[in-house]
Each structure stands twice: as C-alpha cells, then as structure tokens.
C-alpha cells in the first residue's frame, strides 16, 4: 500500500499508470492546482539538471594520477603488512620453542644438582624391622648422614638390646 507521498512522487514523475493513475487523479481535491505543481516540479528538475548536472573539475588527469599513486602505495603497504604477519608467526613459534627447550634444560640441571640423598640401606632395614618393644622397650635409633665427601652414615642406637637378625646378617 503506497502512501500519499509515494503516489504523489510517482504521479509527478509519470510513473503511475492504469487504474492506479485514475484512482489517484480522482482522489485529488484540486486537479488544476496539482497540475500546476507538477509543472513547477518539472521546472525545478530542469533547473537542477542545467545548473548542477554540468559541473566538473579541472584536474581530471591529476586526480587519476594521484589515485593511481595512492592505490599503488596502499597495495604495497597491504602486501608488506601481510608479509610481516607471515614472518611474525614462525618467529613467535621459534622463540616459544627455544624458550621452552631452555627452560627444560635448566630444570633438568637444577633438579639433578639438588637430587635428595638416597636413604641409607641400613636405616631402611632397621626401620622396617620394627624393634620389638617387649625386647627393647626404650630403644631409640638416630641416623646421621653426610655426603660432603664420601657417603658416611652413622647409626646411633640407644637402649637396643639386640639387633634384628636380618640386619646382623648384613
């Protein structure tokens, strides 16, 4: 459903035909006034076409030259931009991988350097043997270890009435 404005515009421009044209013209309260306005709009159109349609600018060739240079420059910039992006990603990957490798190497070296001293075989055995409280109720076992030079383990026992047989066998 066309609005009045749309129908009026179409009528002025000669775009209404058939029944639509008849209906619209019949709906006009003053057809003579409408025809006069149509003529005015045609004059306005002629004026605009004559005065504005003829405008130009004087440096067409320079305009094209400037445009060509700008397009060439922007295309080159875009190409360089794409190139630098292409190089950035591998560079980032390479840097990341190298950093990770260095970190792993450092971590390996540090962990190996501070490897905790293994527990003494003897201490393990004594602790595993569980001294019988009925036999040695007040037994205490202390262990001192040093790894500064050669590994030395000192086992200090107190109140121990007998050593486990397995240990003795060692």
């Amino acid at each position: 459903m066309k609005t009045f404005e749309e129908k009026w515009t179409a009528w002025l421009d000669g775009q209404l035909t058939g029944k639509e044209l008849d209906d619209f013209e019949a709906s006009l309260p003053d057809k003579a006034a409408a025809e006069a306005e149509k003529l005015e709009v045609q004059k306005l159109g002629t004026l605009l076409k004559r005065e504005l349609g003829a405008r130009s600018f004087s440096n067409e060739e320079f305009f094209s030259h400037q445009l060509r240079e700008r397009i060439a420059r922007e295309t080159a910039q875009a190409r360089d931009g794409a190139k630098s992006t292409w190089w950035t990603i591998p560079r980032l990957v390479w840097t990341g991988a190298t950093s990770l490798a260095l970190f792993l190497i450092c971590a390996f070296v540090v962990l190996h350097g501070t490897k905790p001293v293994e527990q003494s075989e003897y201490l393990t055995q004594i602790l595993n043997m569980r001294v019988d409280p009925a036999v040695s109720p007040n037994a205490t076992i202390s262990v001192f270890e040093t790894t500064k030079q050669d590994r030395v383990t000192v086992i200090w026992t107190e109140g121990l009435q007998s050593l486990p047989s397995d240990y003795a066998a060692k």
Binding site: W8, T9, E37, E51, L52, S56, E74
Partner: protein
C-alpha cells in the same frame, strides 16, 4: 548516464573492465575511474559544496571501490555499485561534520566550468560577464537551498534530477526501499520548491 563515455571507450564493456580489475589489473580500474570520475566528483561536490572535500571524498570512494572490487558480483551495474560506496562515504562524512544545512561551507574560490562534450573539437563560447554573474548567483542560491536538506534528501534529489537515476537504482545506491526513496524525494522537492521558487519561475 553515459556523458563521459566516449565511443572509443564504449567498445570495452564495463563488465570486462570489472573482471580485469578483479584480477588485479590497475589499468582497467584506471579506465573505470576515467569514465566516472567527473560525475562522481560533481555529485559529491553538489553534496558537500567544497572542492577540496569533494576531491578527497572522491579519492576515498575510488580507493574503497578498488579494495572491494573482488566482492562485486555484477548483480547491479558498476555505476550503481560505486554510487553506493560514494554515498556511504559522503553521507558518513556529512554526518560526522554535522552539517546543518545553512550553506556555511561554501567554497567561493571554486572554479567550476561547464562540461561541453564537444569542447575538444569546437571552440568554447564563453558567456558574457553579465551572464556569468547571473549564473553564479543562481548556482549559489541552488547550493544554499540544497545545503538545507539532510544528507539523505540531498542524495535522493541529486541522483534523481541531475543523474536521471531510476527509483530502484537510487534505492540500491542508498541501501533503502523504493518507498523510502519516493518519500524522501517528495519532501526534498517540497523544500526546494519553497526555497527556489523565484529562481525556477524565471527560467
């Protein structure tokens, strides 16, 4: 619609040129620019009323067209397609500048001349000083009247009256419905009728 298209240019179809542009041929784009630069510049000038701004906006429009030409599918004519870019660029610029239409941005120093299609082969007849003054006065009145329209109304009236574009072409170029085009045309004409009555009554 083909004012700048010469017979020599006409044998190279627009679609061929567009296809060559899409393949990256800047020479083909240069050819399209040559065909449309005058009309596009004039259209933008009639919208913004400043030669330097019109120049820059025309350049921006063509650069945008070049960058997006691969997306042109040929569903409309190249002219309608580039007009859409031109209108987007110009209307955005006008909105940003918040031109209220008081004719404040006129460039009096502009040296406009009439396009005479036969100017290369025939001597140009310069108008008499009095006639030139009168024409300048009329143009100033028209420019001031158009400057009082909103950017959308300016675009519609100029495309219809100076370019002779059809409703559907204008709608396509502005990205709106045909009904909107007709409605805008109605209000733009009414306003210009009031503002320019004394001018067109005497022609």
């Amino acid at each position: 619609m083909q004012t700048e298209t010469t017979l020599a240019q006409a044998d190279v179809s627009e679609l061929d040129l567009v296809k060559r542009c899409q393949a990256g041929e800047t020479e083909a784009f240069d050819e399209l620019v040559t065909r449309y630069r005058t009309r596009i510049f004039a259209m933008i000038y009639n919208m913004v009323h400043n030669e330097q701004d019109a120049w820059d906006l025309a350049q921006d429009s063509f650069v945008k067209a070049w960058k997006s030409i691969k997306r042109f599918r040929g569903r409309s004519s190249f002219y309608t397609w580039i007009y859409r870019i031109v209108m987007n660029v110009t209307i955005d610029w006008l909105r940003k500048k918040q031109v209220k239409g008081a004719g404040v941005e006129f460039d009096d120093a502009i040296q406009l001349r009439e396009v005479n299609p036969a100017s290369k082969t025939l001597p140009k007849a310069d108008p008499l000083p009095f006639e030139r003054m009168e024409r300048n006065e009329i143009r100033q009145k028209i420019d001031k009247a158009i400057a009082q329209l909103s950017p959308e109304h300016r675009a519609v009236i100029l495309m219809k009256e100076t370019e002779g574009m059809q409703y559907h072409e204008i709608a396509e170029a502005l990205g709106c419905s045909i009904g909107t085009v007709m409605s805008r045309l109605f209000y733009a004409r009414k306003k210009l009728q009031n503002l320019l009555k004394d001018v067109y009554e005497n022609i």
